[in-house]
Structures are given as structure tokens and as C-alpha cells.
Symmetry: C2
Subunit: 494 residues, 2 copies
């Protein structure tokens, strides 16, 4: 038997076991050839990937180490006696193999796969095998089974008999921070909206990054519950809330592999909304040549899949296919976006129209889930709550409840303008290019960095007129971003 | 910049970088969200998977750690200054994504994927994505491209103008140690045969485990070359020879995922034979209900794929579809098998006929690659070399050259017989069951453990007659193995 030791290494949601090469009881290399082992002790068994340690400072010959995530999942005290064994076959992997061979899986098979993934019983390569197998094909009913399974392993929030609404955008449009306007409007109407958002991974800002300019967002599930109970809504980072533990593991594989299928998107979004306790969901699918969804046929297929799965799960879905042909608002980057959001909430004359109009459309759709509001009147009610300042007041309450931030709303001081190369009308703005330039300029790492759009599509420009301004904290970032913009500014003018 | 440190952890052919959570220069969690990073320094760049360290004893805040394999692949001294960056896209992963989406890949795409895999530029999950994508479908020409790419990243052995032969069995039949008889026979004939073999992973013994009873097998490529130059052949473990570095990485993913496609098998076997410098290969495909290949139709498909790829690569292939309906020889387990092999080489009257006959068949086929031997006469020449003691003498030379072992040829002392439950004729023996019982009895970990078959198919037995004897070193293993045998002895008698 070996003494259990916690190895203070964070292996990003993969269970790793560490064994000394000089262990006298277990032949390290023989076990490593199997890649996976099973850790046994205190009446528990847990599969893990094996790493061999050659340094007694890290691990002694009579110890078995577990990475932080594995130690937590095993749930036993350091120093207890454990042994290792050849891995028993993880049964649900048989279903993964069947999927790879092209079979349709049953709801029970999805349930067991997802339970094992959430319990960290799969290695990353096993998760990859599952996801790639699914990328081959999945029926609508398989997506339903997967979604249900993912929701079932999460801790489901219950809100009593209250009407609980949520909104979601599939993403891809820079500056599209409607959530930060929609949430205060529907809260002002009296609905409950426990909104969680992501941080940027490859984009210049996620809603969580932008909200963080105004308030603390790194909030756990219990504190979030308290905030929503008190003020009716929240705008927190989803990473700490852990609504969908299986999704949290799968994303660590999907992201580097860039597996980005419709099926995984539907399961990921709807399972989180289910565990958040939402009954009504408004979903924004922007369509444009540089958006995630390129054309209306693709949008229609995605919509049908959302409707099929959402409908079977008892979620009332209102799907809006919107214009995704250019960024929304003016700012791209946390501070610049937060500035636009506050301008809309303050009813500034200079606030970006498109950001306000898109927010009112989505908030109106959510408000109509209140049966006392007449069909078609939601958007009027939403405008009323915005214009009256009720939405701004709700936003201030949310900020107070989450904890106000002391960050500045000032953009980074170094700036450079990108100008039109010829006369004409702006007919297209490349969302991917603008996001890339803002990212290279330092967003979201430097909160004040990004791109501030001066012209949008339809504007008439003359050669030398400024199209947008790049903001950066570091001069070197400004230079790289300006070089990118010089190569291709992302604007079509004719 | 961070100081480079070697972290003495063997991560089994995956590049892992370690960064302190308290690193002031790089925000650990932001990088971890991307899973992969790029290590830059000394004009080198290398992708790696990021782990975060919370223990200053393992890593300081101003250090960047690399796992043993990563440190070696990076090839720089500890202490040099390095930085980390967001990963640049690994170009060949675009081809992997295309394969997942169902496209046929070009020879160039396979070449770039395999170069990146061999260079440890892929994470395990990226390797898994590639293998699962390939498991969907591969054309014969894709298998050819893959095989060529795998051979090209290995160090190819050159043997001048000599005729270089090799033999391979696709495996799955307990006791099938023909290589240890074929190699000395063809060496005695004067052919060159640089034979590498595997160790058992899930079976009770590989040829390398059995040969290790007689001689040292843990031999590197240069020493192997010297041995073959001196005596004409060898019987070494392939794990140290590293003939196919890409295969060595892929196997660490295929094995735990149990991805076992015909296409990967063909590419793996033929790429290794190519790098070993073989011009003629005899391939043994045993067929039987409990063998790897279940029926002759399956064997014919596999044969055609081998022929297509081998032919295009200029390898002269002689494929033998053989009887795989029961184990070969008597012993199953390293010592028991080595005993059978030596009995055949010594021309013992009690030596197992089937092991001798199968070996003569395959050795005869190899000998016919010598143009001075008439068609159909190879087997007679093989028998002559065996009966005359020339083969035994060649084996002794090989053992001397590799370094004789001092292990005993005695089976483990604890034994228990498994007897017939009824009268009748043995009509089938389950290869999988016998392998499982031998494995549970302790083979190959305990060299003398395993199963010693007393009856084979066609034998008439009476109730209570011994069918086989289980040998084990530990009493507990003997008990478990006997329990398994009591449940189902793996013998069909009627």
C-alpha cells in the first residue's frame, strides 16, 4: 500500500496519478504502458492517467500522488493507504466506441457517458474520442439525450413558482453586449433572470469581462442565488457557478481542438439554461458572412434543432435570427463596451442605436413571457423601462449586490486611427478581423484596449476619414494591431 | 522571461509545460483556458499542454517547467530564459479537422500530421482526434500515405545489398512464439533478420517477454545493428529500438481507447518493417472465432489492404492465413512458452507439433526469398536446419550476442489442474479465455506464471481428466485464476 499525497498541480479537469519510478510495490513502467490506472482505497475506486515521477522531492517511493482535481474527486485525506490496479474497463467507453463506429446511442448510454465525464473518469483523450465520434453524426434525439444528461449531472437551481427567464446569444459579433441592457430591463419589469456569461477565450471580450468593469463577477452558485433572490437578476461569470460540470470538462477539449458543432452548441447552451432553472429563453442567432452562422439556411437548421430539443425539455424558446453583418455598438473591448452599455442605460443621445434597438427587441421578447403583457407590446414596455431610468436603477442595484468595481471607464491612452483608403460607402465590416485587431491590441487582458468604431455600414466616407480608433496599453501591441489594420482594415468601401 | 527547469515527471510521450500560479509575468489561468501554449526561447518554439503548479517546491514563480519528454524535445539547457505565448495554430490540425468532417487527406497532409505527432507537437487529445477521425473511414491510398509518413519519420536501417527478411504475426493467439524458432532457422540459412517484438500489454506474454527468459532484450538501435551484423539476426524488444516514433506516440492513445482498426494495424506493422530495412516479409494472419480476425472474409480484406500498401512501398509480401482456432504449443506465459520453444529447437520428441509445424511453414516461406531455393523447397530446407541442430546453434549465437539471461526455466511452483466436466472430444479452445486466465495467474509479471495446456482440440477426454494446469507465484493469483476457470474453463467438449 502507498501513502496518498496531494500534488499541488492543477491539471485542468483531468485526473492524474503520480507514482515514483522507484516504487517497490508497483512496477511503474508496466502500469504506464496501460496509460490509465485505478486508484483504490477507503472503499473508493477512481480511474486516473498515470505519470511517473523521478524526483523524490515531488514524490517518495512509498507514496501515490494525485493532482489537485483528482485529489478532490477522490475525496480522501492525505496519508491514507491506497493501492493501484489495472483499470477496470470504464463501461460507458463501450458506448463511445459504438459511436465511433457509427451507431446511434440510447439516452441511457449518453447518461452514463456524461456521468463519467463529469466525475473526471475520462482522460482528455477519451473525452476527445467521444466528441470526435459525435462530430461524425448525431440525430436530433441524440442531441436531446445528451442535453438531458448534461443537465442531470449539474446542480439544478429551483426558483419556486416564479417565472424565470434567460437570454443567450450564440456569439461571434464584437461589441454585442445586449445582456447587460436586457437583464436590467427585465429585472425592472419584475422578472427573474439568473444570467451567467463567459469570459473571452479567443474573442476580445466576453460579457463577464465587460461586466467586470462595473462589478465583481467571480461569484459562486450560493452567492448568485442570494443576489437573484434580492434584486431579481445578476450578471455573473459562469466559470465559478459550475452549472454544467460535464460541459466544463468537455469545453477544455472542444476549445483546443476547435470542435464547434451545432449539436454540441445546442446541448451546451440548453443544459446550462435548464440547470439555471429557466422556463423561458430568448435566443439570438446573428447571421452574416463573418458571423458564426453564415446564411439563413444554416440558421434555420440550427433553429429547428434548438426547438426540437428545447421543446422536449419543456423550455419555452423564442429564437430570433438577427443581423450579424457587422459589429454591434461602437466599442470592442471590455472598457469600450461597458461605456456603450452605460450610455444606452443612461439614455445618452450619442448612445449606439443598434445596441439599444437589439437590446429592446430581446428584452421585449422576454417581457412577453409575462402573460399580463399583450402580444407585440413587450418591446414598448422594454422601451418605457429604459427611457424612464428604471432599467438604469435596476443595473445599479445589480452592481451594488455583486459588489461595485473600482475600475476606470477610461480607454487605454495610446490610440491610433485607421482611415479610409478611398471614397465611397461602407458596405461591410468583417467581424473576425475587427475582433482580431482588438485582441492583438490587448483586449481583454488590458481592459481599456480594443477598437472603437467610428463608421458603420451605410456611412459615406472620403479617403483619409477615420474608420475606427485602436486603443492599446502597450506601444508594441498598438504597433502590431496597426500593422494588422494596415494589411486589411476589415472594412469594405465602394 | 522565465528560467527553464526540467521537471522530473515522465508524462508518457506528451509535452507538458508547468507554470506557477504565482507567476507575475504570465497569467496562469488565462493561458490554461487555452489548454495549449507555446514555449519560446533560444530560437526554438514548441507547443505543450499547460499545467499550473501551486507548490514552490516543484516550481518557483519565475520558472517554467517542462516534463522529461518535453525538455528533451525542446533540447535546451536548464536555466536558459524562455517565454510562453498563445499557441500558433498547428497547421496539420486543420487536416485533422478535415478528416473528422469526412474528407480524404492527401499524402502531404498525412506527412505533416505524422511529423507533428512524432515531434510531440500534438497533445494526447489531438492524437485521439486524429485516430478517431481516421477510424471513421480511410481509403487504401490514405493507408499508404499514412504508412509512408510513419516510416519517413523513423530512422531507417540500411543493410547494404543483403537480403533482409522479417516475419510478423498480427497476434491474438496464446503461445504462438514462432518468431523464436523462425529467426534462428533463417539465420542458419544465412539470411538477415533484424526482428523486433513487443512486450505483453493485455496478453499474458509478448515475444519480447518470452525471449527475455533466455537473453537480454532491452537493446537500443545501435547495439541491435551490431548484433545483426555479427550473427545475422536478433530477437529484441522494439520499445527501445524506436523504429517508428509516430507509432510509439499513437500506441499510447490507441491502447487505452482500444482503437484497433485494420488501417492502423497495416500502417503500424508495415512502417516498422520498412524502417527496419526489410525487403521480404512473411505475415501470419491467424483466423478463428476467438482470434483477432474472426473469419476468412475479414482475413481476405485485411490481406488485400496489406498487399496494396506493401506492394506500393516495394515490400515483397507473403501472407499466410493460418488456423487460429486454438492456442499454439502448450505453454502460455513467458517461462512456459520459452520451454516449448527450446524443446522444438532441441528436437525433443515431446515438443509441441503445432508450434514446430507453424514455425517451419513461416521459416520455409522466408527461405524461399533466397532465389537459389526452388519454389516449394523452403519448408524442406527449414526442416533440415532444425533437425540438424543448425537452428539451435544459431539461437545460441543470438543469445550470446544479446547477453544470456540468468532466469530459470522453471514454471511457478504453485499449480492447479483444471479438469473436464464431461466425456467427449475437445472441439474448441477459447483463446481469449485462456489468455485471461494466464494473465490473472500472474503472467507476464511473474515470469513462471501462466497456463500449461494438456489437451488440445481433437483430443478425447473423460470427465475428470486434466485439461490444463494453472501456474502462479502468488497463492491469491492462483485462486483468482482457478475461480475464472471454474466459471468457464474455455474448453468446448462434446
Amino acid at each position: 500500500m502507498l501513502k496518498l499525497k496531494r500534488i499541488a498541480i492543477d491539471t485542468h479537469r483531468e485526473s492524474i496519478a503520480y507514482l515514483s519510478r522507484h516504487c517497490s510495490q508497483f512496477k511503474a513502467e508496466e502500469f504506464q504502458a496501460l496509460e490509465r490506472i485505478e486508484v483504490c482505497g477507503a472503499a473508493r475506486r477512481m480511474p486516473a492517467t498515470l505519470n511517473i515521477v523521478d524526483d523524490p522531492q515531488i514524490l517518495d517511493a512509498d507514496e501515490l500522488g494525485l493532482s489537485e482535481a483528482a485529489f478532490d474527486a477522490f475525496g480522501q485525506a492525505a496519508g491514507i493507504l491506497v493501492s493501484i490496479q489495472h483499470p477496470r474497463p470504464v463501461e460507458s467507453l463501450e458506448a463511445v466506441r459504438a459511436k465511433i463506429q457509427g451507431y446511434e446511442l440510447s439516452p441511457e448510454q449518453y447518461a452514463s457517458i456524461i456521468r463519467d465525464i463529469a466525475g473526471l473518469h475520462y482522460s482528455k483523450m477519451e473525452v476527445a474520442a467521444f466528441l470526435v465520434g459525435c462530430a461524425g453524426f448525431m440525430t436530433s434525439n441524440e442531441v436531446l439525450s445528451l442535453t438531458r444528461a448534461m443537465a442531470d449531472v449539474g446542480r439544478r437551481l429551483e426558483w419556486g413558482h416564479r417565472l424565470v427567464v434567460d437570454k443567450h446569444c450564440i456569439g461571434g459579433i464584437p461589441g454585442n453586449r445586449t445582456s447587460m441592457i436586457v437583464v436590467p430591463i427585465v429585472v425592472a419589469h419584475g422578472l427573474t433572470i439568473p444570467k451567467t456569461s463567459s469570459r473571452a477565450i479567443t474573442s476580445p471580450a466576453g460579457t463577464a469581462d465587460t461586466m467586470e468593469i462595473l462589478a465583481r463577477v467571480d461569484i459562486g452558485i450560493d452567492e448568485m442565488r442570494g443576489i437573484v433572490d434580492k434584486v431579481g437578476g445578476c450578471l455573473v461569470w459562469g466559470g465559478r457557478v459550475n452549472l454544467s460540470p460535464a460541459d466544463d470538462v468537455m469545453i477544455t477539449v472542444e476549445r483546443p481542438l476547435r470542435i464547434d458543432t451545432r449539436e454540441q452548441m445546442v446541448a451546451s447552451i440548453l443544459s446550462k439554461k435548464l440547470t439555471a432553472g429557466a422556463s423561458h429563453l430568448v435566443l439570438d442567432i446573428p447571421v452574416g458572412p463573418t458571423a458564426k452562422v453564415r446564411n439563413t439556411a444554416e440558421a434555420a437548421r440550427l433553429r429547428k434543432l434548438f426547438e426540437h430539443v428545447g421543446g422536449q425539455l419543456g423550455l419555452s424558446l423564442d429564437i430570433r435570427i438577427t443581423d450579424g453583418r457587422q459589429p454591434i455598438g461602437r466599442g470592442v473591448g471590455p472598457v469600450l463596451e461597458a461605456r456603450d452599455v452605460m450610455a444606452v442605460l443612461r439614455n445618452d443621445a450619442a448612445a449606439p442605436d443598434d445596441l439599444r434597438d437589439r437590446s429592446l427587441l430581446l428584452a421585449g421578447a422576454l417581457i412577453e413571457s409575462d402573460i399580463s403583457v399583450k402580444g407585440g407590446h413587450g418591446i414598448h414596455r422594454a422601451r418605457e423601462l429604459l427611457v424612464s431610468g428604471a432599467a438604469m436603477k435596476a443595473m445599479e442595484q445589480i452592481i451594488q449586490a455583486q459588489g461595485p468595481s473600482n475600475l476606470t471607464l477610461e480607454p487605454s491612452s495610446s490610440g491610433r486611427e485607421v482611415v479610409a483608403a478611398n471614397d465611397g460607402v461602407v458596405h461591410e465590416i468583417d467581424c473576425l478581423r475587427i475582433a482580431q485587431i482588438a485582441r492583438v491590441a490587448g483586449a481583454p487582458m488590458f481592459k481599456g484596449a480594443g477598437v472603437d468604431l467610428i463608421c458603420k455600414t451605410g456611412d459615406t466616407v472620403h479617403r483619409g476619414d477615420p474608420l475606427y480608433r485602436i486603443h492599446a496599453t502597450l506601444e508594441s501591441d498598438l504597433g502590431f494591431a496597426a500593422d494588422l489594420a494596415a494589411e486589411d482594415p476589415g472594412y469594405g468601401i465602394r
